[in-house]
């Protein structure tokens, strides 16, 4: 079960571990079920590695399709804007997790706490801690990790994958989004 080992091997999960996003339909179903989702994008999304472009495209797609608000952590807002992604807010990773842990927080839109938190673009270590913090304070919030490294503390996570395989998965997800009709039956997760 290599794909489902924590990417940093010493990062043990807990008694409840993330389910694997085995196919893009899972993601799509999760998005549809969400009432109030939010996307957190970390600083690694703008590093030079080959994942960046795809990740930014993915976020744009989510934003356009389901109107998912995006929060950029660290210092990357300007770069994102220059690459065509305008985040809804810029906030430190600790600051946003802290707010997501506060059941009185009304969200960026004043509509209350979020029920689905999607993360991508964080160093694995930091991502783990953010997910662990969220899991602890907000057990019932769904947490999705979209990076191609298995995150046991999430609710749903990709397994450890080579870039090429992950790319295929994400591109298939784009296809689903495009062909998706409003009246399409909801797939069950």
């Amino acid at each position: 079960m290599t794909g489902q080992d924590p990417w940093i091997r010493a990062e043990m999960g807990g008694t409840k571990q993330a389910s694997i996003i085995s196919k893009p339909e899972v993601l799509s179903a999760l998005m549809k079920k969400a009432n109030h989702p939010i996307f957190l994008i970390g600083s690694e999304s703008i590093t030079d590695n080959k994942q960046s472009d795809l990740l930014i495209t993915l976020i744009k797609n989510l934003k356009e399709k389901w109107n998912v608000p995006v929060i950029s952590t660290a210092h990357i807002t300007g770069t994102l804007i220059s690459r065509g992604l305008v985040p809804n807010a810029s906030m430190g990773s600790m600051e946003i997790i802290d707010r997501l842990c506060d059941n009185k927080w009304q969200g960026l839109d004043g509509k209350g706490q979020y029920d689905l938190v999607i993360l991508a673009g964080f160093s694995y270590t930091l991502g783990s801690l953010l997910l662990s913090g969220l899991k602890q304070c907000s057990w019932n919030t769904k947490k999705i990790s979209l990076d191609p490294k298995y995150h046991p503390h999430a609710t749903w996570s990709y397994g450890n994958m080579k870039f090429e395989n992950w790319q295929k998965e994400i591109e298939r997800f784009f296809d689903i989004i495009k062909t998706d009709k409003k009246n399409m039956e909801e797939s069950h997760v």
Binding site: I8, G78, G92, M94, E95, L130
Partner: protein, 786 residues
């Protein structure tokens, strides 16, 4: 409260006054009449004495817990799964468990420094006498021990006086540690309050330790012009016998220097050091050389250069005996905390010990007498050098060997998955196999030298050595300077900057502390320190961060210590010294209250912390902190209301203390003049936060330097830096400036056009600037009330 030694009744000692005085000092009593300052409410406080202050801070800065795992495994009731609201078999909650672990870390950290202090004081009382005076800056420093005065309410004059302080610290640490026992404390905030207490004790311990060594070893005494000393692997002359000292307890290293002096060997032996022992040794002898921070241990030893290794305590690798053995360098352990399984030869004849080390009869020895260490180390190093000249001891592969190794790499990624910084070693190996070592050399720059990559390599590639080999040119050109640790800040310096700081006109004090577990090598700390020095903040540094700052050269070839002055003043980069010198940073904040604002220090913690919190725009940066000591040091700053920023790995401390700027009601103070509750905005916004990148950290530094007491002139300067950095590093203007602008005069003049429309949109309204306090007791109209 541990004041037992002070309660002596005259009636019980019917002797002459003269002899009584002598006895007083003997037993650690500090005579009140030598000090006309009024004693405050909490000399030698228990943690419950300051719990209400802690709760004020903790009601504003709430813990965010980031558990390392779901379980508690501290007792045999367990392991217990605490996730999802479950409680342990003892009834503990996840939140309480996380804060309990933080308490445990802070206790270990404080114990480490306090025990170090105890060791120094005992040793130096033995060698120099109980009445050795404390002298940290001669006539330039009147407030010699601000932390001790503040916390203990005494004014120490001699080493013997410090014993009373140590007794108090040890009692308190023992009590706090007891609270970490299974069961008992249930409230996370009470655990946090105990963490604060441990931090405060830690700073007292730090101060005590540095006062002691400065006084006895005649380290630079609050000297802004302390000498520049050599730093870096490239500065070492390996033709001479080379001794490497590693750790945090300097006496054995000093006795090495002493021995060479007494035996006319000065200049013939290279004494090189890693970590704080290195820093403190250069405070004693500027000819000693600093190799580098904690993370330089493996690379330097494996280079084969050291002929003999002397290790003391604290941040020293637990595998040094093995590493030393691999390069055939004898090892001398010198600390009871780190006996390394070696036979205790303290009472043996040095001739025999040297002979055993050189013959290889033993690979190392334990010697608990620093003086004997001095002799054995020097004599054995000279002989070891002769032998080692004739054999290859370096473990660093040649370029050819490196390429051969790289070819073995199967790209399994285990090394990356074991690397704290997730460096792309397999990619680099693939490249290296083709003869191109660029990427490997790049990885060297962000390597923290932990060696975990080697343990997991399926192909037994010596990965760490390969990185060092690839970076050979970089390594050998590591020739830098660092200003020797100056120790305390002079009273006159405080007098001069006190006003500009509390008014906000010096935009802040930025303290770079802690060790080298950085995500991108040492360069980020140097970059930050230079940025803020250029902006005329006061950059202060200690320990491995002070070294990291030195490991940089500007376009003119200057290191930051050559580029910037060393005064505690705008635009300086001030190396106070080793880890224990961190107390001079908190001490400086306290001295602003004492010397500049003339507040009483004596046993008056709460008032002074309130002063510092509301007025002194100081921020600590522990960019690569990794240890329990760092946790304790940070906690000491928190209780004084000084925020601390850590790097992304610092999130592994498992708990942040975060403010919520969106809850306007949180951000008030009382105006001491009227008692009125005044909204002042989120200044400072957080007490402890992990930044994801250095850019985020730099913007946070500028932001967290704001304080309620800033004048409009000061605030507008601070805002200028905050907005300017945010625009440059984030690429946008910050969205919260309206929270920091209390009236139009706060608006930076050069930014008016840009800001006024934004402020209008956000619905900005004028607020007055109070004389701020969080303590009802500080309100003048009802002084004494509560």
């Amino acid at each position: 409260m541990n004041r037992k030694n002070i309660h002596i009744h005259l009636s019980e000692a019917k002797s002459s006054t003269g002899s009584l005085k002598g006895l007083d000092i003997q037993i650690g009593k500090i005579k009140g009449e030598q000090w006309d300052e009024i004693e405050g409410p909490t000399p030698f406080p228990d943690h419950t004495d300051l719990r209400s202050w802690d709760r004020i801070l903790l009601s504003r800065y709430k813990p965010l817990y980031l558990p390392f795992c779901d379980l508690c495994c501290l007792c045999t009731y367990g392991k217990c799964d605490l996730s999802g609201g479950k409680r342990g078999a003892c009834g503990i909650s996840m939140e309480a468990q996380q804060s309990r672990i933080v308490l445990l870390a802070a206790c270990i950290g404080a114990a480490t420094h306090i025990s170090h202090g105890r060791h120094l004081v005992n040793h130096l009382i033995e060698t120099h006498g109980r009445n050795t005076p404390i002298n940290v800056g001669g006539t330039n420093v009147d407030v010699e021990a601000p932390m001790i005065r503040l916390v203990c309410g005494i004014k120490p004059k001699t080493l013997a006086d410090l014993v009373t302080v140590l007794d108090y610290l040890e009692t308190q640490v023992t009590e706090l540690l007891a609270a970490a026992h299974t069961g008992q404390e249930s409230d996370p905030l009470d655990f946090e309050s105990k963490v604060f207490h441990a931090g405060m004790l830690d700073h007292v311990g730090l101060e005590l330790a540095d006062l002691t060594q400065i006084s006895v070893f005649d380290f630079p005494k609050a000297d802004p012009e302390a000498e520049l000393v050599n730093l870096g692997l490239g500065t070492i002359d390996s033709e001479k016998p080379v001794i490497l000292v590693i750790g945090h307890n300097v006496p054995p290293a000093i006795d090495i220097i002493q021995y060479t002096k007494e035996h006319n060997l000065s200049g013939t032996i290279e004494v090189t050091g890693i970590c704080c022992t290195a820093i403190d040794l250069t405070r004693y002898d500027p000819d000693a050389k600093i190799v580098g921070p904690i993370s330089w241990q493996l690379r330097y030893i494996r280079s084969g250069v050291p002929d003999l290794i002397v290790v003391d305590e604290q941040c020293v690798r637990a595998d040094l005996l093995i590493e030393a053995g691999n390069i055939q360098a004898p090892l001398v352990a010198t600390s009871s905390k780190n006996c390394a399984g070696l036979v205790d030869r303290t009472d043996d004849n040095p001739d025999q010990i040297v002979a055993d080390l050189i013959s290889g009869a033993v690979q190392g020895v334990l010697i608990l007498d620093p003086k004997k260490v001095g002799e054995v180390a020097v004599r054995a190093a000279i002989q070891s050098h002769e032998i080692r000249k004739t054999i290859k001891t370096s473990k660093i592969p040649t370029l050819e060997e490196l390429i051969e190794y790289a070819k073995f790499c199967s790209g399994c990624m285990e090394c990356t998955r074991a690397c704290p910084n997730e460096t792309p070693i397999p990619d680099a190996m693939k490249q290296a196999a083709t003869g191109d070592i660029t990427l490997l050399a790049e990885i060297y720059q962000s390597c923290i030298g932990c060696g975990r990559c080697e343990d997991v390599c399926n192909k037994n590639i010596p990965v760490h050595n390969a990185l060092v080999a690839a970076a050979r040119d970089i390594v050998t050109s590591e020739k830098y300077t660092v200003r020797a640790g100056r120790g305390a800040i002079q009273d006159i310096e405080i007098r001069e900057v006190g006003g500009p700081i509390v008014l906000g006109e010096i935009p802040g004090i930025v303290a770079f502390v802690g060790c080298a577990n950085f995500p991108n090598g040492v360069s980020e700390v140097a970059e930050m320190a230079r940025e803020f020095a250029k902006r005329r903040y006061i950059s202060v540094a200690s320990g491995c961060s002070a070294m990291a700052i030195g490991m940089y050269r500007n376009e003119d070839g200057q290191t930051p210590y050559e580029e910037f002055h060393g005064r505690f003043d705008a635009g300086g980069i001030v190396n106070v010294g080793s880890c224990v010198s961190n107390a001079h940073i908190s001490g400086a904040a306290i001295k602003i209250a004492s010397i500049f604002a003339k507040r009483n220090l004596r046993g008056n913690y709460e008032e002074i912390a309130d002063y510092v919190y509301n007025r002194v725009g100081a921020v600590g940066i522990a960019w690569g902190a990794m240890s329990q000591k760092a946790a304790a040091i940070a906690a000491g700053f928190w209780r004084l209301g000084i925020p601390v920023i850590v790097g992304p790995h610092g999130a592994k401390y498992r708990r942040m203390l975060l403010g919520r700027k969106d809850n306007e009601a949180n951000w008030f103070v009382y105006d001491t003049r009227t008692g009125e509750k005044v909204q002042v905005g989120p200044v400072p916004e957080h007490l402890f936060i992990s930044a994801e990148t250095k850019e985020e950290a730099m913007v946070l530094i500028a932001k967290l330097c704001m304080r309620p007491n800033d004048t409009s002139r000061g605030r507008s300067m601070k805002l200028t830096h905050y907005i300017d950095l945010h625009k440059r590093l984030y690429g946008i203007i910050p969205d919260d400036i309206h929270l920091f602008i209390r009236s139009s005069s706060d608006i930076p003049i050069m930014m008016k056009e840009e800001l006024i429309p934004i402020l209008k949109e956000k619905g900005f309204k004028d607020q007055k600037i109070p004389d701020p306090t969080l303590l009802k007791s500080q309100i003048r109209t009802q002084k004494g009330g509560n």
